[in-house]
């Protein structure tokens, strides 16, 4: 499933706001078909990075290729090949689950003759068939999140961006989201790019992780390698604390 061309490739990525540098000269690449975790404390620059990679926010400097397209010059092509689930709730609670998917199927221009099949497929993959025709207002947090992942992956994107996908969910709901994300990868070979504060989630889902601290890249590698380099018996939580508090 992992092919030669990286799904995401970032060189010297920088985002500067008027008074602060949110992302500072960051470079990394994400192998196609893999799952990549971007970690760091609040305000470390994770969301700013995702916003630049999803074309929502312009780059101050550097270059980023997503699915082979330059986000600065080919934003439209990037958008056709990615899906994005923001941290905040993004399904429309005044519509049914099915309607949310229908609207996105149309926005992503999925041809009419396969639209219904795709939507039903996505509902089944996310375990939402039984509630499809109920208003999202009545969904649990876990159901809403699974619906959003369905919305963002309906068009079979090359790269799926998940910004803190299980924040605020109970352990059962979190595991259900993880299982669906794994199914999605297995079925469609989707590259997953996620941010998270939960190290168990990262260990469960990610092949490779990067740590940001004050906008700078302070660690990059597989979870196993990073743990090993942190000392005997260290887990990802230890790595996180070491890399993001500067006490190396």
């Amino acid at each position: 499933m992992v092919s030669a061309q990286p799904a995401v490739s970032v060189e010297h990525l920088t985002k500067r706001f008027r008074h602060a540098v949110a992302v500072d000269d960051v470079s990394f690449s994400v192998a196609s078909g893999s799952a990549f975790g971007l970690l760091g404390r609040n305000g470390a620059g994770k969301s700013s990075t995702i916003k630049m990679l999803t074309t929502l926010s312009p780059l101050t400097a550097g270059r980023a290729l997503v699915a082979g397209y330059d986000v600065a010059t080919h934003a439209f092509d990037v958008r056709r090949h990615i899906g994005y689930v923001p941290q905040l709730q993004s399904a429309d609670v005044d519509l049914t689950g099915y309607e949310n998917l229908l609207i996105f199927a149309k926005l992503y221009r999925i041809p009419r003759d396969v639209r219904r099949e795709r939507i039903e497929d996505a509902l089944a993959l996310m375990g939402l068939e039984r509630v499809a025709h109920l208003l999202v207002r009545g969904y649990s947090g876990g159901m809403v999140r699974r619906l959003e992942i369905a919305q963002a992956s309906l068009h079979h994107p090359a790269v799926l961006f998940l910004d803190e996908p299980t924040v605020g969910l109970d352990p059962v709901a979190r595991r259900a989201v993880w299982a669906r994300v794994k199914d999605l990868r297995a079925r469609l070979g989707t590259t997953v790019f996620l941010t998270s504060h939960y190290m168990d989630e990262v260990s469960e889902l990610c092949d490779q992780v990067a740590f940001l601290q004050d906008g700078r890249l302070v660690g990059l590698g597989t979870p196993a390698d990073l743990c090993a380099s942190a000392g005997p018996g260290a887990d990802l939580d230890d790595v996180f604390v070491r890399l993001t508090t500067g006490s190396r």
């Binding site: 999803t54 905040l88 221009r109």
Partner: protein, 261 residues
């Protein structure tokens, strides 16, 4: 490629409008509560002012004269607050998710504006029913009704697009509400909605001539009232709305993504 892009634009625009219509179908209560205000204007304001015989209404009774003005006003009031839903969608993640889809921004903005038009049409239907009950004389010829539909949708789209621009500039709900309260009444009073241009002091007439509402009211009166003579001509009224809408969508297209920052 060209026709594909146009198709993409139309699909995105209609999809955004469709989402709004579906929401209205799930919860139409809002449509009914909004009829109260125009009803009060027609019933109370209209009844009282009809006693002043000196308002030059162009040969129609004051109540007849008022009805299209109140329709235009209620369309304005629906559309001008439309931007707040965009701030709401921004505060959630809905807007970010939509903006990451490969839809032209202008199609998203125009779709939202059209959605305001749909709500406004529901309002127009109710104003017509109310006018019938009150015995107001209206034209029911099909071309005239089609013209009313077109003008109501255009007017709603204009003020909704304007409202989206305000939302993109001020970015918070509190500021949006403040600015809108400040603008709505002047827009309404500096138009020919409740009194003719001829009655206005000359400075106000100048202000009114820059107000799209003035031309919307003129078109609606011409189309809705039998025997009413248009002040500017229907072609001018409609042409102006199209130009204004095009300009506003052009601005909103640029500003829409900046609401996220």
């Amino acid at each position: 490629m060209g026709s594909d892009r146009i198709a993409g634009f139309l699909v995105a625009m209609l999809t955004i409008a469709e989402a709004e219509v579906r929401k209205l179908r799930h919860d139409p209560v809002d449509l009914f509560t909004r009829i109260v205000q125009p009803a009060l204007w027609l019933l109370i304001f209209g009844q009282v002012f009809a006693r002043i015989r000196e308002i030059p209404t162009g040969g129609v009774s004051y109540r007849d004269f008022l009805a299209p003005g109140i329709l235009a006003q209620s369309v304005l009031f629906i559309a001008i607050f439309y931007g707040i839903s965009t701030i709401w969608e921004r505060d959630l993640g809905i807007l970010a998710m939509v903006l990451v889809s490969p839809s032209p921004r202008s199609a998203l903005v125009l779709g939202k504006s059209l959605a305001a038009g749909v709500r406004a049409l529901a309002q127009a239907t109710m104003v017509y029913v109310l006018a019938l009950i009150l015995g107001i004389h209206l034209t029911f010829a099909l071309p005239a009704l089609a013209g009313v539909v077109a003008m109501v949708v255009l007017s709603a789209a204009i003020f909704a697009a304007f409202s989206l621009i305000v939302a993109c500039v001020v970015k918070t709900r509190e500021r949006f509400m403040g600015i809108n309260q400040l603008m709505t009444m002047p827009l309404f009073f500096a138009s020919s909605a409740i009194y003719p241009l001829a009655m206005m002091p000359s400075w106000l007439r100048v202000v009114a001539s820059f107000n799209p509402l003035t031309y919307q009211v003129d078109a609606l009166r011409t189309l809705m009232l039998p025997g009413y003579q248009s002040t500017f001509g229907l072609a001018y009224d409609f042409g102006l709305q199209v130009v204004v809408l095009g300009a506003l969508i052009g601005i909103a297209d640029r500003l829409y993504p900046t609401i996220l920052e």
